[in-house]
């Protein structure tokens, strides 16, 4: 049986892992390479690295870190942040990424997903979307969740998949950092519209939140950052707990 996946996300800035709460008030946590080793040994099914740097120098530091991780950790690695062109895909794939996650880049250039899917295959292209309720509708946000694009998020998801996105990361701005559970309502709405794997992000606070998430068979993976970084939840404990609750897990 195929398993549900548990994915820690490492936001990297200036060579260090950071984690924001509601995308603000970032705190330093630790070395990305050390954390990647730790998560690999703890049973993480996949790792996501978000490059939240701005300058060219820091970007070089990020790809050096990625290369170091990819040389010793042999589980799928997804890279996002600052992916705006095919050259950006190429840059991180050469450093050992398996999948590339696009967010604002896909909004700015709607030809990016189809071009990347054609060149690298659908399996390589992950569409990451930051979504927030506005007047009862799910709206797509850009610029790290700061700007309402005016685009309907469900239509965006559907279009992204038609264009060749092989997986979706759905990050709920409404539940991000709040630790009261994933945004099940939002995730179900997205799952109604697409038939590719859905990675849920934003809101995990305890192990029960993951159990509740995986009650919907259409949700494939749960992604979280701070609860893993601060060891509020150990991935090994989480996976054993989920398996005891009848959810297929790689242990």
């Amino acid at each position: 049986m195929i398993t549900k996946r548990i994915i820690p996300c490492l936001d990297v800035r200036n060579g260090r892992v950071v984690k924001g709460v509601n995308f603000e008030g970032i705190q330093d946590v630790a070395s990305p390479v050390e954390m990647a080793r730790f998560y690999n040994e703890s049973g993480a099914d996949e790792l996501v690295f978000y490059d939240i740097t701005a300058s060219v120098e820091e970007r070089k530091l990020f790809t050096d870190i990625l290369t170091e991780v990819a040389q010793e950790i042999f589980i799928p690695l997804t890279v996002g942040g600052g992916i705006n062109t095919l050259e950006d895909f190429d840059r991180v794939l050469k450093c050992g990424a398996d999948k590339v996650s696009v967010n604002s880049g896909a909004i700015r250039d709607q030809g990016l997903i189809p071009a990347a899917a054609k060149k690298y295959g659908d399996q390589c292209v992950v569409l990451s979307m930051d979504v927030k309720r506005v007047d009862g509708r799910f709206m797509l946000f850009a610029r790290g969740g700061r700007e309402n694009t005016g685009i309907d998020a469900l239509e965006w998801a559907e279009r992204g998949v038609k264009n060749g996105a092989g997986e979706l990361v759905v990050n709920s701005i409404d539940t991000d950092g709040v630790k009261k559970g994933f945004d099940i309502e939002m995730l179900k709405a997205v799952a109604d519209r697409v038939n590719v794997p859905i990675i849920a992000s934003g809101g995990a606070g305890c192990m029960e939140d993951f159990r509740e998430l995986f009650q919907d068979p259409r949700i494939d993976a749960g992604l979280a950052a701070s609860i893993f970084h601060f060891k509020e939840i150990q991935i090994g404990d989480l996976k054993r707990y989920l398996r005891e609750n009848g959810i297929e897990m790689r242990i």
Binding site: T3, Q123, P197
Partner: protein, 210 residues
């Protein structure tokens, strides 16, 4: 030395890194001499079958691969590389493979009875088939460091069919997906051992000792 055939299909960074991590000398190459000089050959690949088959033909290496494997040199095909070892694929038309393992590559979608997602992406458990064991009940050398039930990482939309005689291990995804196949010294994994954590490394190590 393990020759990893570089024919412009897919990202070989992880594969090369994982072999290096195991202390196994390897070389990305599209040169006949390298493949002849190697102890073992790996045929990687992601993407579409027809495109990859054409690119492989353009390297002019197909005959070399066939000669070397006929002489008993171990060959491991990974993911699309495994699919290329079969007789043919029905991925968007009908395309000829290398014909080193009997069977064909077919789409998963029409065979599903449950509404599962395709591609089949993620970690799935391997179940050894009876073909994984010889008459003395010893497990196939490719699986000697593996455990029945090990989880491995898949990403694919097509799968091998009519190859039960050569299937060492399967994964369940409503249909039975042949995960590891072998025909003499010609071996293949539908999953990515270079992305399957310690279970994958164990299989690459076993391959290096064949």
């Amino acid at each position: 030395m393990i020759a990893i055939i570089d024919y412009g299909v897919g990202n070989l960074f992880s594969l090369s890194s994982s072999l290096r991590y195991l202390g196994l000398e390897n070389k990305l190459t599209n040169k006949r001499e390298d493949i002849q000089a190697a102890d073992r050959i790996i045929l990687p690949g992601v993407g579409a079958f027809a495109d990859a088959a054409e690119k492989l033909r353009q390297t002019g290496l197909v005959d070399t691969i066939k000669e070397e494997t006929a002489a008993g040199k171990p060959l491991l095909g990974i993911c699309l590389g495994m699919q290329l070892l079969f007789e043919k694929s029905l991925e968007y038309g009908e395309h000829q493979g290398l014909g080193l393992i009997p069977g064909e590559i077919c789409p998963i979608q029409p065979d599903l009875r449950q509404p599962l997602k395709v591609p089949h992406i993620g970690w799935n458990s391997l179940r050894f088939t009876e073909k994984a064991y010889d008459e003395g009940k010893r497990v196939h050398p490719l699986l000697k460091y593996s455990r029945n039930g090990d989880y491995v990482y898949y990403v694919h939309s097509f799968y091998a069919k009519n190859c039960g005689e050569n299937t060492l291990a399967v994964s369940e995804y409503d249909v039975e997906i042949p995960g590891a196949v072998a025909n003499g010294s010609v071996l293949g994994t539908q999953f990515h051992p270079e992305k399957s954590g310690s279970a994958g490394l164990a299989m690459l190590k076993a391959f290096s000792e064949l």
